[in-house]
């Protein structure tokens, strides 16, 4: 039996969701116009006033916001409430130089935590569960978000934060944790460490994992599920919009339901900015309907994915987004070809190697070099040189057919690639372009 945190809204008829969105959008646009000078100017440049936005159908008229706008408006330029109403900031490293700083009122935090609670319940969580939150706590939204969500569900919450793997495992085993929240790469690392300690999936008390904050493949999911003996659920979010829980997976594991009573999702052509029809792949754009302190309208996420409103077997009616093919920030262009690290991970796991790898890109004599360091595993090692080389060649040709360009694989000793306790450092780009 599928369980819901807020069934009435999570399973509401589409017309009701649309009515909520229409009403909230009109109010939010007015709020932003009145309180955020930076965005008002952007609207004025397009000769728009709040009166032009009467429903979701008019959303496409509004100007976009991007990371560049966050940088230009840093730190207070997009704030819609006086500081006395704000109770928290969260922050994330910006690839454009400045950090992203997002502000929250208490109501904003409650909304965010409710979104996380929906994700935990969708993963089977109840107040009987022991939920270990091994995302980093602090400026990073992962820890605080899932921590709050876990409280709202009523789970016994272990605020383990990231790092100290031995202590993580001790808590999981001693306190019989049933739900684990962390990044997928850290879940894989915990799984590996527990396996090395001789713990079998049957001995590990965990039953579900809620993993997000970085791109991961379906193969990696199956791998983690097998080592830990759990069902692994994807969760998605970004600090600019609130944090984890903007969307989350249900038992169907077929895309993540976006909390549409709080956020409107659009898919646009990243080059022209034009809204694309449902099912078409493009850049994901979010409009925050409820945020008081930091209400972003039409924020471009740079995540490439698709949306579907097809009925989901779990009963939820909110639109689903496919796992992003990768943040366009993660995308590498090597010899003119788009390469997503998640594609490499897929091939590695398919060929029996661990998902721990490092991509090294350089430019020598005007040509891009593309090396992938892959850790040797006991399963892929034999005493026969020819056999090890053959397996390596199979891996290289698998990568070639997946990526469309050739990569050189370097086999390295186990555990020599730095493990992430937060997000993994997968790419070293030495090119100076």
């Amino acid at each position: 039996m599928e369980r819901y945190f807020q069934e009435e809204i999570e399973c509401a008829p589409r017309e009701k969701i649309l009515a909520i969105q229409n009403e909230k959008l009109v109010a939010q646009v007015k709020n932003v116009w009145d309180n955020v000078e930076y965005y008002r100017k952007k609207m004025q440049e397009k000769n728009l006033t709040p009166d032009d936005i009467k429903s979701v159908d008019d959303l496409h008229k509004l100007p976009f916001l991007s990371k560049a706008d966050l940088k230009a408006a840093y730190p207070y330029g997009l704030l819609a409430r006086p500081l006395k109403d704000c109770v928290r900031i969260q922050s994330t490293s910006g690839t454009t130089g400045k950090r992203v700083v997002a502000f929250y009122t208490q109501k904003d935090i409650d909304m965010w935590e409710e979104c996380c609670a929906r994700a935990i319940v969708a993963a089977g969580g109840t107040n009987e569960d022991v939920c270990q939150v091994s995302y980093g706590y602090g400026l990073f939204t992962g820890g605080p978000g899932l921590n709050g969500g876990s409280h709202k569900v009523g789970c016994l919450t272990i605020p383990a934060s990231s790092g100290n793997t031995e202590r993580q495992i001790m808590f999981i085993m001693d306190l019989q944790a049933t739900i684990l929240c962390c990044t997928p790469s850290y879940a894989a690392y915990l799984g590996e460490s527990m396996k090395e300690m001789g713990l079998t999936p049957e001995q590990i008390p965990l039953k579900a994992g809620i993993f997000g904050a970085e791109a991961w493949s379906e193969e990696m999911r199956r791998d983690i599920e097998k080592t830990l003996g759990i069902k692994a659920y994807d969760i998605y979010g970004l600090t600019e919009i609130s944090g984890p829980g903007v969307s989350f997976e249900c038992s169907a594991q077929k895309g993540m339901h976006i909390n549409e009573d709080h956020f409107i999702a659009e898919i646009i052509d990243p080059d022209t900015g034009e809204v694309l029809p449902e099912g078409t792949q493009g850049e994901l754009v979010f409009t925050s309907l409820d945020k008081e302190a930091f209400p972003l309208l039409r924020y471009r996420t740079r995540d490439i994915c698709t949306l579907t409103r097809e009925k989901c077997s779990c009963g939820r009616t909110h639109v689903r987004m496919a796992k992003p093919r990768g943040r366009s920030d993660d995308m590498l262009i090597i010899r003119g070809v788009n390469v997503f690290p998640s594609q490499i991970e897929t091939v590695l796991l398919k060929n029996g190697y661990a998902a721990n790898y490092q991509i090294i890109v350089d430019r020598i004599n005007n040509t891009d070099t593309f090396d992938i360091n892959v850790e040797m595993t006991p399963d892929m090692f034999t005493d026969n040189v020819g056999e090890v080389q053959t397996r390596k060649k199979v891996l290289e040709s698998g990568l070639h057919s997946m990526l469309g360009i050739k990569a050189k694989v370097n086999l390295v000793a186990p555990k020599t690639i730095t493990r992430s306790e937060g997000k993994a450092v997968r790419v070293i780009d030495k090119r100076k372009i």
């Binding site: 090692f381 005493d383 040189v385 080389q389």
Partner: protein, 141 residues
């Protein structure tokens, strides 16, 4: 009886072989015989050691990938023609050698052979009158 050889994956960069020998030295593992297979990208160390389990355990603890490989070891006398003599029996038994290396003991020289189907090869060679050494016997030679 086949003897367990320890095979270790070595990354191709300065110091890795030394790192491996340091781990073994620190744990009092004696290397009786060693052969190194190398390619441009990586190497594989193959060793006969006095304590196979200790060696593999301590290597794994230090993040080396190490496995057991069954090999056949035969004693040969330290004189001209003895390797030829033994290989003629391999030919007669139609056993293919994947790789081999050697070490000198107190009395004899010892040849270590890696073949495909170790159990079957051993049977065929034994019918040719060749008796392979056991793990215990290796410790004493």
């Amino acid at each position: 009886m086949a003897v367990n050889q320890v095979s270790v994956f070595l990354e191709n960069k300065p110091g890795t072989l030394n790192q491996m020998t340091k781990v073994l030295a620190n744990h009092g593992v004696n290397i009786r015989a060693l052969s190194l297979a190398d390619t441009n990208d990586f190497g594989i160390a193959r060793m006969i050691v006095n304590d196979v389990f200790e060696a593999t355990n301590v290597l794994k603890e230090e993040n080396f990938v190490a496995t057991f490989t069954p090999v056949l070891i035969y004693a040969i006398s330290d004189e001209a023609g003895s390797l030829n003599k033994i290989l003629e029996k391999f030919t007669a038994a139609n056993v293919n050698v994947e790789y081999m290396y050697a070490f000198a003991g107190k009395k004899n020289a010892y040849m270590i052979f890696r073949v495909k189907d170790t159990a079957n090869a051993e049977k065929l060679l034994s019918s040719q009158g060749l008796k392979s050494l056991t793990q215990e016997q290796i410790a004493d030679v």
